[in-house]
Structure formats: C-alpha cells, structure tokens
Amino acid sequence: MVTIDDYGEYETAWCPGCGNFSILKAVKQALVASQQEPHEVLFVSGIGQAAKAPHYLNANVFNGLHGRSLPVATGAKLANPELTVIVESGDGCNYGEGGNHFLAAMRRNINVTLLVHNNQVYGLTKGQASPTTAEGFVTKAQPEGATSAPLNPIAVAVVMQAGFVARGFSGMIDHLSELIQQAIAHPGFALIDVLQPCVSFNKVNTYAWYKDRCYPLPATYDPTYWEGAMKAAREWGDKIPVGIIYRNDRPSFEKHFPVLSQGPLVGQDVDRVMLKRIMEEYG
C-alpha cells in the first residue's frame, strides 16, 4: 500500500506562496491514488523553477536540459515502457525552448504525461516574457510590453489531436490530482497545462485572477468530440475551462515497435546468430 509518506517531504527553493507547492501536492496525491511505487516512476524535467519539482519527492529523476525533457522521456520510455514517465517543467521550457519536441511528442503519441507549470512568465531568470505571456505584459526585458501573441498550448494540442489534453489550476488541488491520475492512466501522450500564479513576477495573472476565471467543464462536456474541444480550447478571458478538453484512443508510440512486444528493451540479449546472417549478406 503506497502512502503519501513514501513520496517524502523536502525543503524547496521556491518562493513562499508559489503555485508549485500545490502542484507538487497534487502530483503526490495522484501517485498515491494510482498506487505507483516511487521506483516505478521516472520524472524527467528541464530547467526552471517548475523543473526542480521532481527533486522534492521520492522517485527516479532525470533533470536534464532546458527544453529537452520530452526527448529524454521518449528515449527512456522506449528503453523501458514499464516505467511510468512524467515530464514536469514550465511554460518556457516546454513551449519555448522545447517547442519542436512538444509538437513531435504529440505526433508520436508517446505514453508520457507532460505536466506544464504555466505561470505565463519566466520565474528563475526573474520575470521575462514566456511563450504564454499576454500581449502587452510589461517586464524588464519587454519594457514596452510583450509584442508577440501568446501561444495557446491547449488549442495546439487539440489541433494536433494529442491523445489526452487537459487544463488544471494549481488552486484546485483535488481536481488537478484527479486530472494527473487520468493522464497517467491514459495509454498515450497526455498534456496537462497547469495554470499557476507566480507570486514574484506575474502581478497580473494572480491566484485571484485565475480563481475568478477557472471553472470545471460540466459533466455533459464530451472530450471525444474534436470540434467541441476546439471551441473549448479557444475559451480564454473572463471564463477559463479546466478539465479534460480532448481525448482520443490513438495507439501509443511504443506499440509501433515489434521488439517491445517481448518486454522492455533493457536487458534484451543480442541475437548473434542473426547478426552473423546479416553480416554474411555483405559477402
């Protein structure tokens, strides 16, 4: 029986009041609810305040480069599909530096859960605009206001027909935890874009700002209806829907590799007789 204690409690490097604390709590709750042992889980993260999250619980961790978590996660999942692989990093890491990998992961439909801490700003480098920063948002690096239109990650993911697309809010811990459980259980790529306040550098999209706007999708909402999902994905402003926006049952990427039907790649032998036969074709 896995309990919350198995995932430990650690001192963090985050600012008091940061949305990361709630997300960490939701992650642990979800892992316990999914009855995942810490050694069965691999967290892969990039760089940024969000990317430190895996250091603050017990699990296998690969904390790699800025923007490159998804390729590492893809390689690890292919080598050992028995691992539950969760990528956890921020909006800058996943949508900016790692944008190409974000698109490719959705095309592959690798069975990895991507948890994006989206606070619409760069925290660790002290407040520059991120790919999700609203136009006109003033920072020290964008003193005249951000001039690029913000990326809508949910809409991109729905357009790409990603396997599982959801939005959560750090202020709704139990709701978020439930989303994470479902994402882990989903046999394919799962994105959860988690809205969270940055108490130090985003004075616009505050806890109250999100709390006033975020509402759970009604029970009647059908996430398998793509056209409806596109509409929900574009809803942003006074009302922001949270929940599972879209899902489908595309086969996961790992299913395309016959070698994995024999079990994980890790530990598989080399067929030297076959290799000899292959070599002889060059004779």
Partner: protein, 554 residues
C-alpha cells in the same frame, strides 16, 4: 589497377560500381572505393572509383587504367589521368575523338534502362571476370526485389560479354586469384552499423545528414531482426537527448551526424558528461563552415569534437583509418562509454563512410556485447554518483530495482540531487575528471610503420591512413628512409607513446584534411613539439597517394 566510372547522377553508376565491386570481391580481389558525388539526385557529375588488386590496396590513386565514361564530361575530365595501356569505355553514340577508346554500341546491346548492366558486362569481360560470378552477383542484387528484370539483366550481360569477345581493344587483365577467400564488401558506415550491433546497440536516434545517413538507414533496416529501436528525431537536439534518455534507462545508445548536426548536439554532450550517461556519438565529417560542401570529405572537426560541450569533462575520440577499424572502434567506443559512463566519439568522414573495401568476416558470434551495468549495491541509500577511487560510480537503472536513480544536469550531491554546496561541487569535478585517467590508460598507441630513425616521418590521423602508407612505401622503394605515425585515437594523446618517434625523425610532416593542421596543433599543445611542415588538403577531396607525393615534391 584503378577503374573509374563517371557520369551524371541518375545514370546508375553507383549500381554498376557496387555490382562490379561485389563481383571483384567475390572473385577474391581486394578493393578500395572512392565515391565522389554532388548534392543533387539527378544530373551533375559523379564518380565511383574502384582500386583493385590481388593484395590489400591502400588509399585512392588518381592514375586510371579503365575509364568508364557514361557521359562526355567524364572522358574530358579524366582522360589526362589515363595510364599508357589504359582504355576509355564509352557509348558509341557519343561524339569523341582520340585513341584508347572502346566505343560500345549500348543501344544495340540493351534497352536504355539496362545500359548500365551492359556497361557492367563490358567492364567485367575486359577485366577477365568470370561471367558466372557476375550473373550470380546480379541475381543476388536484383533477384529478390525485382525478379521480373532478372531475365533481361542476364541477357544483356551475355550480350555484353559476347560483344567484347569480338573486340581487339584490351586493358590489362587482372591476374586470377586461386581459391579466393570469402570476404565482405563493406563501407565505413556499414562497418559502424555492424560494429554497433555486435556491441549490443539497442537504441539509435538520428536526423538525416550526409555523410552519416547510411549508418542510420543500415541500422533501421536491421531494427526488427536485431531488436533495436531506431528513431528519426525531429532534430539533432532531440536525437541526442533521446539517446541519453534511453541510455539512462539502461540500453546501449548511439547517435550519428555530421558537423552541422553535431553543432546542435553539443549541449547534449555536456549533459551526457554531467549525468554520467554512456553515449557514443559518430561524427562523419564533411567540409564546413556551415553547410559547406555537403557531399565531400574533410578532417575539419577534430577541434570541434575535442572541445564540444561546455564545462570540463573527460572524453575519448577515435578516428578509424580503415573500414575494419570502423567496426572495431565502434565496438570499443560503446564499451568505453558504458564503462566510463560518458560521451565517447567516433570521427570519420565522407571518404571513409562511402569507401567500400574487401574485409574478412568478423567473428560476430564470439565477440561479446557490452555489459550494461548492473552493479550490486549494498549501501542504503543508493548513491548514483558515489565518490570512488576511479571516479566511476556504481550504476543502477531506474525501475529495475527498488533503489531510486536520480541524475541532474545541475551540479549534484552523491545521490544525484541538485546542490549549490561548493565543497560538493569541487569533489564532483574531481570525480568526473578522475575517469579521464582511466581513459588515458587505455589509449590505443598510434601506429608506427617504416624505418626506425627515419629521415622523414609522416604524421596522420583517420581516413588518410591508406594514402599516407602508400606514399611512404613508394618513397621507401626509391631508397628514402621514411616512416609513418598514424593516429586512430586522437584523444587523449599520451606523449610517451609517440614522442620518441617524433624526436628521432630527421623531419616530421603532418598530413591532414584541413587548412590549419589541427592534429599538429594539438600535438604541440600537449607535448610542446612543433610540427613545422604540413601537407594540408581542404578542397573537399580525399588524399590520394599522388597528391601527397606531389606536395612532398617527390
């Protein structure tokens, strides 16, 4: 004997070259192929040169015995290289004047789509190859995929042999080989693919880039049979990070690219070093900067590979000089990467990548694959980056035991977690660099050949090995005291292995496929010994024996 086939892309000259090479190898000859091609699929000017002999052939040469000109351009360009007694095989329909011409009525011998088979038949007949061997080579090549064309192929081959028998023009025939040995016809990239499979490669990621691409395609072709995963990544950055992820999870992993793609991978090199993840990186060089000459050769990226990756960490760089070395050094690279838990490099180039050779079979049934670490760990908690005497820490794999495996690109504590404790930082730097001492103790000595205390010592590395050897042996046969010192591992350099040779020589000359003498500079940096004279080639072509002798005024 040197056969040069030239023509436009799309004329089937690689097919002729490949089949002729195969027939020669099956008849017991040694071959050495040099391919020249342009960055286009149709038109332009391409060449496929086969040097052939009853003994092992060294590097490429320029002098031509048999010029197979599929277009006028080829005849015009290479006529000057024709040896006395040489012959130009050319389509009778092409207008050309002069002697030593064998004008073949290809139109009469074959329908146009089979004219390359007619050319193959003519060349085979001129060389005195056995028609049966050629027919079998053709059926092995086309039989499986295109049985419907086989009948016509064999008919055209027969017609070509028959036509030739009525001709008086001849070229030097190859001396027959009695009881020919069974050898493989393999190029550098194929040997790398086979070597990696033999070492137990299980994960390979790539983004296509000439001249490395055929490594990827060979591996992709065997993925199902050999149980490995080959993935074309969205870019080179993804490729190297995927390989690192797979290796971290526990399977031998490799990437292959060329200079520009490698430049994108550089941050990943540093990541493999910091997280102590085994990884082999193959860099097939082509001339730069930037896109440079995509389909040509060069040795310009030694310094790039040596210094790639920010921060300080140990590495080893192999530079195979032959196709056989491509096989064995790939195995060694994978084995060292696993043992020393970090990035190991293989530096080749377009010439070697595409150079087919006759090589003896490898004993793949008895060559052991790499053993992926399954260190038993008794201490609790498990420390992935435990400080040890050798710098090598016990490596466990995530998910395989109940121990948690934590790795970080940030500086980290022994258990792998992020730290800014500066005393830990110092210990970790020392631990990582300590592994360099182990790598240094296992360096392959440079290969010294020729006279002791020579008047002239030629220093080279990588794919120029054959051409340099041959240039030296020609000089020796002219009574000169010449030796060669060839590096197949270019990092780490261990001065004790070669300083004596440098100091004993009357004159030392470095021979490199770049414009600045990168190995010579590295030797000076590491030993203080300055190689003053250099023979450098940076026009995109490989060294030939003649080009070296010319530069040396011999």
């Amino acid at each position: 004997m040197n056969i040069l086939i030239g023509g436009e892309a799309g004329q089937g000259l690689v097919t002729i070259g490949h089949l002729l090479g195969k027939a020669l190898v099956r008849s017991g000859y040694f071959i050495g192929v040099t391919q020249g091609y342009q960055s286009r699929i149709r038109g332009g000017h391409n060449t496929f040169a086969i040097r052939v002999g009853v003994d092992e052939v060294d590097g490429p040469v320029e002098a031509v015995d048999l010029l197979v000109a599929l277009d006028i351009n080829t005849a015009t360009l290479y006529r000057k290289d024709l040896l006395s007694g040489g012959l130009i095989v050319i389509d009778a329909a092409l207008e050309i004047a002069g002697d030593r011409l064998l004008r073949v009525p290809f139109k009469e011998l074959a329908k146009s789509r089979f004219s390359n088979i007619a050319a193959l038949g003519v060349v085979g007949s001129l060389l005195g190859l056995d028609k049966g061997v050629m027919a079998r080579t053709l059926s092995d090549f086309f039989g499986k995929k295109h049985p419907q064309v086989m009948e016509e192929n064999l008919r055209v081959l027969e017609a070509a042999f028959h036509w030739c028998s009525g001709q008086t023009a001849t070229v030097r025939k190859l001396p027959p080989v009695v009881n020919p040995s069974q050898r493989l016809m393999l190029n550098g990239n194929e040997a790398i693919a086979l070597g990696s499979l033999s070492a137990g490669l299980k994960f390979f990621a790539f983004y296509p880039m000439t001249p490395s691409t055929s490594i990827s395609q060979n591996l992709a072709g065997y993925a199902r049979q050999m149980g490995l995963i080959v993935e074309q990544a969205e870019d080179e950055i993804a490729a190297i990070n995927m390989a690192i992820g797979a290796s971290f999870a526990g399977v031998p992993s490799m990437v292959a690219t060329s200079g520009g793609g490698f430049a994108l991978m550089v941050e990943g090199i540093s990541l493999a070093a910091m997280t102590e993840t085994p990884l082999v990186i193959v860099v097939a060089q082509r001339p730069g900067p930037a896109t440079g000459l995509p389909t040509h050769t060069g040795q310009e990226d030694l310094e790039l590979v040596l210094h790639a990756g920010h921060g300080e960490f140990p590495r080893a760089i192999f530079a195979p000089g032959t196709v056989e070395e491509c096989f064995h050094l790939t195995r060694r690279a994978l084995e060292l990467a696993e043992r020393y838990q970090g990035p190991i490099f293989l530096l080749t180039d377009q010439f070697l990548a595409d150079s087919y050779r006759a090589v003896p079979s490898f004993d793949v049934e008895n060559l052991a694959p790499v053993r992926v670490s399954t260190d038993a760990v008794s201490s609790e908690p498990y420390l992935r980056f435990a400080i040890t005497e050798s710098g090598i820490s016990p490596r466990l794999l995530p998910g395989i035991t109940e121990h948690l495996v934590v790795a970080d690109s940030d500086e980290h504590t022994q258990d792998g977690h992020i730290t800014e404790d500066l005393s830990v930082r110092k210990l970790m730097v020392e631990k990582r660099l300590k592994k360099g001492e182990g790598l240094r103790a296992e360096v392959i000595s440079p290969d010294m050949k020729g006279n002791g205390n020579p008047d002239l010592l030629l220093v080279s590395w990588g794919s120029s090995k054959g051409a340099v050897h041959e240039a030296a042996s020609r000089m020796r046969s002219n009574g000169e005291k010449v030796a060669t010192l060839h590096f197949s591992q270019v990092w780490p350099l261990v001065p004790e292995q070669f300083m004596g040779h440098l100091q004993e020589a009357g004159q030392v000359i470095s021979i490199e496929g770049n414009a600045t003498g990168q190995l010579a500079r590295l030797i000076r940096r590491e030993t203080g010994f300055e190689i003053k004279k250099k023979v450098l080639r940076y026009d995109g072509l490989p060294f030939t024996t003649e080009s070296i002798l010319r530069e040396l005024n011999r």
